[in-house]
């Protein structure tokens, strides 16, 4: 076991106390995962923008060629 286990436990305990709605936080989100969300959230703007543009272009051509529904549009099962 790593020597910093107690420190970790204390810090994560302290972290839990600082959350705004402690009643809900039954899951440890993981610091690394939170940082990554910030990174992906920012980077994904590009890919999401690109995907949206592609959808629009597809939709434009689909309309042009008389297809009324794009089979690849986001869907629910």
């Amino acid at each position: 076991m790593k020597p910093s286990f107690c420190k970790m436990a204390l810090l994560s305990g302290a972290a839990l106390l600082t959350l705004t709605s402690p009643a809900y936080a039954y899951l440890d989100p993981g610091t690394g995962s939170i940082i990554l969300q910030a990174v992906v959230g920012a980077v994904a703007a590009l890919s999401v923008g690109f995907a949206a543009a592609r959808q629009q272009i597809k939709a434009f051509f689909a309309k042009l060629f008389g297809k009324d529904k794009d089979p690849n549009s986001p869907e629910d099962e």
């Binding site: 009643a23 936080a25 440890d28 940082i35 969300q37 992906v40 959230g41 629910d76």
Partner: protein
């Protein structure tokens, strides 16, 4: 009888409670506030009608048995329709897990638009009714406050994304690893499998490799990331969800996945007439026994599950060890809109009771709900293929449901001859006489029909 459902222990805001055939969810005061707000604003209604949120009705104390109300801190409870068979993510096929992931993300995106976040990212919160995925945990919906992160992001990656990528990028089915870990495939472990080319795949690079790196880098110094200077916003959270959705929608099974069973329907030991006869016999038996739920062991592409449903069953659960057969069965169920749920299943090692106190996730035998079973061209694979004793196989099958159909394939059949071509025939117990004796010990054979030229025979029985 009132029983708290063991798998619902994690959330302090509510537990799932079964009372006879009714399913309730207790509510803490905080949960009650959120639920009543969502009910007032029509949010719950909207997510139920448009985003596959499993139905939930807020009940007053006088509408619910007293022992249930007593378990609920707020004195109010939610009631859900019962789901008759709970399946686990490690029993799903690639397409099922993918469909579950999309349902999860769609619900999250809609909830976010309405001012709510999800507290977790668990695949166990999705259940299938036939091919349709539903999000069953109403209490996962929490209020969204500006700048909030998604606490369930890592869980989502480990329970949806890593398993899907394992199959899609590396061609390895996720089921055994998922079942072993129970909480999915740990991102740190999965990242170790990354090859050079995976560094050029955005999904592998960000969600897996970088994720694992950040996780190990920050595992010691647990500074509270929420207090760091990283800014997060609703738009960023939405982008994260949308990019996950786009990525997952684009994931496809590796090409050329031919398997022993995937083409069974077009390449089997039966002629068309024989297949039709077999289907009719099965449909008639289901009608005669008035079976509602049918388990089809070794379901293959679901052809005979479909026959059972045509015979009047309302639900079929198919079990098969072959991943391509499961994909074929899922496609059949989807295209024909039938209530068939195909699941990954190794008869020699069925899902056990496991998890916390070994009761968190119920195993195969403890989820019995069938009125009839089908075991067609199945038992010789266990006896001749895996050395199981014929008597044990028959006893086990009969223990699963009150009625059933078992097909006996004689040793002279080309399929068994092929199985025996490379090994010594030690299976002296595998005879029709022994098979009949084994059935009659526990059940009454109603009728029997030879269904192929090679002498394959169906035995229809009812338990004594």
């Amino acid at each position: 009888m009132t029983a708290i459902v063991p798998g619902s222990f994690r959330d302090r805001n509510g537990r799932v409670v079964r009372h006879e055939n009714r399913i309730f969810r207790t509510l803490s005061d905080t949960a009650y506030q959120t639920i009543s707000e969502m009910t007032k604003t029509g949010t719950l209604e909207m997510l139920m009608s448009e985003n596959n949120l499993w139905p939930a009705t807020l009940k007053n104390a006088d509408e619910v048995p007293k022992e249930i109300v007593d378990l609920s801190p707020s004195g109010r409870v939610l009631e859900h329709p019962e789901i008759s068979f709970i399946s686990h993510p490690y029993e799903w096929s690639f397409s099922q897990l993918k469909s579950a992931a999309i349902t999860h993300l769609n619900l999250h995106l809609s909830a976010l638009k309405l001012g709510y976040n999800l507290a977790d990212g668990s695949a166990y919160n999705i259940q299938f009714i036939g091919t349709k995925a539903y999000f069953i945990d109403t209490l996962s919906l929490i209020e969204y406050n500006d700048g909030d992160y998604w606490d369930g992001y890592r869980q989502f990656v480990e329970q949806f994304l890593c398993p899907l990528l394992l199959r899609c990028k590396l061609g390895t089915p996720f089921n055994s690893w998922f079942r072993g870990e129970l909480e999915g495939i740990p991102v740190g472990e999965f990242a170790k499998l990354a090859r050079m080319r995976d560094f050029f795949s955005p999904v592998m690079l960000f969600h897996v490799i970088l994720h694992a790196h950040l996780q190990s880098k920050h595992s010691d110094a647990r500074e509270n990331a929420k207090k760091t200077n990283l800014s997060f916003s609703k738009t960023k959270l939405r982008n994260l969800l949308l990019s996950l959705k786009n990525t997952i929608m684009a994931l496809k099974l590796p090409a050329g996945g031919s398997s022993e069973w995937g083409d069974y329907e077009h390449d089997n030991s039966y002629t068309n007439e024989e297949t039709q006869k077999k289907k009719d016999l099965i449909a008639n038996f289901i009608t005669r026994t008035e079976s509602k739920t049918v388990w089809d062991l070794g379901c293959n592409s679901g052809l005979f599950s479909e026959a059972a449903l045509q015979g009047g069953a309302t639900q079929a659960i198919g079990f098969d060890i072959d991943h391509n057969a499961l994909e074929a069965a899922f496609n059949r169920a989807k295209s024909k809109k039938i209530n068939l749920l195909p699941l990954y299943f190794n008869a020699m090692n069925p899902s056990p009771n496991q998890g916390w106190m070994q009761s968190e996730r119920l195993g195969f035998s403890d989820r019995k709900n069938a009125d009839s079973i089908l075991a067609l061209a199945f038992i010789h694979h266990l006896v001749v293929g895996r050395n199981a004793l014929l008597t044990d196989v028959v006893n086990w099958l009969i223990s699963l449901a009150p009625n059933g159909v078992i097909e006996f394939v004689p040793k002279s059949d080309p399929m068994i001859q092929r199985m025996l071509a490379t090994r010594e025939d030690i299976f002296n117990d595998y005879t029709k006489e022994n098979f009949i004796i084994a059935i009659e010990r526990n059940a009454k054979i109603e009728n029997r029909e030879v269904v192929s030229q090679s002498g394959r025979e169906l035995f229809f029985y009812r338990k004594k």
